[in-house]
């Protein structure tokens, strides 16, 4: 009986097998840990030591994953605190009239705009003007010369000019403080503008415009829209939808505007605004 010892010369397989296995491992290890993983597309070539670490899976970002923190961004510097109210309320319209001399070239005499791209300021709530001026100043809103103008004005100047424009008549209707009128209009309203303004579009997360912008009730810092320039309203909706304008504190206008079609935006703008060049009545009746 022949003993089949595994290291006997008539059995070359242990040497072949161990040799082949070792060769394969050495080649694969050298390629995988020392050579191939040194190179990466669009990155620097690693040193051999770093390549070995990368091969093992030890990289700088190893360890418990932490949630990536987005850079802190605030839509505005304004907070509606008592101090802010007091500062706005202290605005001096007499002094404001002097400051307003800088504005009339674009926004019209006494802030009644004659061009679609410039908003009418006459009758606009002082808090609104004050906030927008500060947003222009801090770079949270940008439009043409307004950043430079904002930076040229002090906080006191802003409060004064806001007080001046808020007291001008012939532009936007006076804020009545009334509740939203009982319009009787519902989601089944056929006219899209009426529907959006008084009932909104819940399927696209659009609340009724009138809840904040009137007619009727207004929210602090929210502009009244009745009597504003049609083109201006439409342009701002587009800017919110595209993210070009981002100074709405709770992002509400960006969310709402994204839910509107271009036709919706136009319809709402036409509903609220007055076309450029149309002579104004003293106040706008509810439609």
């Amino acid at each position: 009986m022949r003993q089949l010892g595994s290291l006997r010369s008539d059995n070359p397989w242990p040497i072949i097998a161990w040799g082949a296995a070792a060769a394969v491992i050495v080649v694969a290890g050298a390629l995988g840990f020392g050579f191939l993983d040194r190179f990466q597309q669009g990155g620097p070539t690693l040193s051999v030591w770093n390549a070995i670490c990368r091969g093992l899976g030890i990289t700088a970002d190893i360890g418990p994953a932490s949630e990536p923190q987005p850079p802190l961004r605030t839509p505005t510097r304004i907070a509606w605190t008592g101090a802010t109210h007091d500062r706005i309320a202290a605005g001096n319209p007499k002094r404001g009239e002097l400051v307003a001399a800088n504005c009339t070239a674009c926004h019209g005499n006494q802030g009644i705009s004659q061009a679609g791209i410039y908003p009418t300021l006459a009758g606009m709530d002082a808090a609104v003007i004050y906030k927008q001026l500060d947003d222009f100043r801090s770079g949270h809103r940008s439009w043409g010369a307004m950043s430079a103008i904002g930076q040229a004005l002090s906080l006191e100047d802003s409060a004064d000019v806001a007080a001046y424009f808020a007291r001008q008549s012939g532009g936007l209707p006076a804020t009545t403080g009334d509740r939203m009128p009982a319009s009787g209009r519902s989601l089944r309203e056929a006219d899209p503008a009426q529907r959006l303004v008084f009932a909104g579009d819940p399927r696209h997360s659009v609340p009724p415009c009138s809840a904040c912008h009137g007619p009727g009730g207004y929210k602090l810092g929210t502009p009244a829209l009745q009597g504003q320039q049609v083109n201006y309203i439409e342009e701002q909706l587009v800017a919110f939808a595209q993210g070009l304008r981002q100074n709405d504190i709770s992002e509400q206008m960006r969310i709402i505007a994204r839910g509107l079609t271009p036709d919706d935006m136009h319809a709402v703008a036409v509903f609220y605004g007055v076309p450029t060049g149309v002579p104004r009545a003293g106040g706008l009746a509810l439609r």
Partner: protein, 547 residues
């Protein structure tokens, strides 16, 4: 064949095929469900339960029971003596069957739709994991019996070469023991403690990495019975001789060595594993081409020998001289076509960079359906047609019907998988219940998916035909058939080196390779803090209060 051994093999085969048919029905329904066509029971939750059942049945139940049955039949027919440890074999059968029933019932109750690869941190009912553990663990009894029977024969026949078929099926058992270690450890130390509420968090990365130990080797465990047929049954059925006995031994040894330290190529997308180990295992994966090429060469050579013996002349004339009416010969030709197509797809999957194109798409599903469902399963059918007369002593009812069945399976599988390859390249994810075919990205995939549905129903017809043939043959009249003979090599081995007559050397090499390839990737989880809370399949976070 001794009566008790015959029953042992027959019971195992029947469990495999009894599970196979409903699993095909589920597969056909799943294809309808994810297609643009209307499907009965249009419920996405049912889809995931069905995928889990289809995968568990096909990957664990059908294959394991088939391999076990084949193992017992091979002991008896190749060693020419009864199975030693018959009682243990029956105990193993019952354990596996109980595990199967537990797993199936739990999936049907909707508490285990985690798919057969388990997908931690998804969590199923513990009964599913217990079932899987019993099924896989129970088959270890078979592994021990195969090794025991082979070594007992070697002790009784010192210096004699172990018959190739016995050597091969024992290699299958050893491969399965290595392969199953990953999933068994995952079940024992990751999934079951969590499912029972012993642990509060689950390390999904560890679970996945452990499963990859199983994930690729299990494929070769499925494949081995087909290769056993290639080497030992096909040349005989074709009327020729095996080209080389040594090729066979080297093939089965290479499968043990190269199917194990390669599983990471299934998780190239996972962040936990370093690039070096992914490359290492990708590199090693390419070596599984070696045994396949050896086999294809040896198989073609054996068939050429048979064809020339039967009077074939000229460069290719021997091909036409082969006995194509034999299901085994037909099956091998169909199998090789599918193996070739699927193999080329597999080269893409295992390549570290190219894998990105098709990772987790229907391309992958197409690949393993073509390889396992096609190339391998069609050989299972042929083996069953070969074994049935020997086990039941009743001849096959109709070889013509068997050929129809094989052809239908072949055509069906191609019609299923070619569209899947295409949709995979288009980016269609796998394991998704419903697609929005009105979406412009998904819409062009619709027609391809509909074509594959047709293939699914061709496969269903073929599966029904298979069961019909086996049942009607078994109910037929008793007739003594000639005993099963395995192909004789052209140069039958008189002695073989010890290393090609046993597995000690190769187990040592596998151990070293596994430590090198998996030691660090698994060990790193001891210091990586990567555990997360688990979610049960009803998508509720598992409460850790009071546990």
């Amino acid at each position: 064949m001794k009566n008790s051994d015959r029953l042992l093999a027959l019971y195992h085969f029947w469990v495999a095929f009894a599970v196979f048919l409903p699993a095909v029905v589920l597969g056909a329904w799943q294809m309808l469900m994810r297609s643009p066509l209307p499907a009965p029971l249009d419920d996405t939750n049912a889809y995931y339960a069905s995928v889990t059942l289809h995968g568990t049945a096909m990957a664990y139940v059908v294959t394991t029971f088939f391999a076990m049955g084949l193992g017992y039949a091979v002991i008896e027919t190749s060693l020419g003596r009864p199975v030693r440890g018959g009682v243990a074999a029956w105990i193993g059968f019952v354990v596996c069957l109980v595990g199967t029933v537990m797993a199936v019932v739990t999936v049907l109750s909707g508490r285990a739709s985690v798919l057969y690869t388990f997908y931690p941190p998804l969590l199923a009912s513990p009964w599913y994991y217990f079932g899987a553990f019993l099924l896989i663990g129970g088959s270890m009894i078979w592994v021990v019996l195969m090794i025991y029977n082979m070594s007992a024969w070697k002790r009784d026949n010192p210096g004699q070469p172990v018959p190739l078929v016995m050597f091969a099926i024992t290699a299958t058992a050893i491969l399965w023991a290595w392969a199953a270690s990953g999933v068994l450890i995952e079940l024992l130390f990751v999934l079951i403690p969590q499912a029972l509420g012993i642990t509060t968090e689950i390390d999904a990365g560890l679970g996945r990495t452990l499963f990859t130990v199983t994930l690729h080797a299990i494929v070769y465990f499925w494949l081995m019975p087909a290769y056993i047929a290639f080497y030992t049954l096909v040349p005989q059925a074709a009327g020729g001789r095996l080209y080389s006995d040594t090729f066979g031994r080297l093939t089965f040894i290479s499968f043990i060595v190269f199917s194990l330290p390669v599983g990471l190529h299934h998780i190239f997308g996972d962040p936990e594993i370093g690039a070096g180990f992914k490359f290492l295992q990708s590199f090693l994966t390419f070596f599984v081409v070696l045994p396949t090429l050896l086999t294809v060469f040896s198989l073609c050579a054996s068939l050429e020998i048979a064809g020339r013996v039967r009077g074939g002349r000229g460069l290719l004339g021997w091909i036409w001289a082969l006995p194509w009416q034999e299901p085994m010969v037909l099956a091998v030709a169909l199998s090789l076509v599918m193996l070739g197509l699927g193999g080329f797809g597999g080269l893409i999957n295992m390549s570290y960079a190219m894998n990105n194109m098709i990772h987790n798409t229907s391309w992958v599903t197409a690949h393993f359906h073509l390889i396992w469902g096609g190339a391998v399963l069609i050989m299972y059918f042929a083996i069953a047609y070969e074994m049935w007369p020997r086990i039941t002593n009743k001849p096959l009812r109709s070889k013509a019907l068997a050929r129809w069945q094989l052809w239908l399976w072949f055509v069906g599988m191609l019609v299923v998988t070619i569209p899947w390859h295409v949709t995979g390249l288009m980016g269609m994810p796998r394991r998704v219940a419903a697609f929005d075919y009105s979406d412009p990205f998904v819409a062009p995939m619709g027609p391809w998916v509909i074509i594959s549905v047709i293939g699914g129903f061709i496969l269903l017809v073929s599966a029904i035909l298979l069961i019909t043939i086996l049942v009607s043959s078994q109910l037929g009249e008793r007739k003594l058939s000639e005993p099963l003979r395995y192909a004789l090599a052209v140069n039958p081995p008189r002695t073989v080196p010890a290393s090609l007559n046993g597995f000690a050397l190769w187990n040592c090499i596998v151990l070293v390779l596994m430590v090198l390839a998996y030691g660090y990737p698994l060990g790193q989880f001891l210091f990586l803090k990567s555990s997360v809370p688990a979610y049960d399949v009803t998508r509720q976070a598992v409460s850790t209060e009071g546990k």
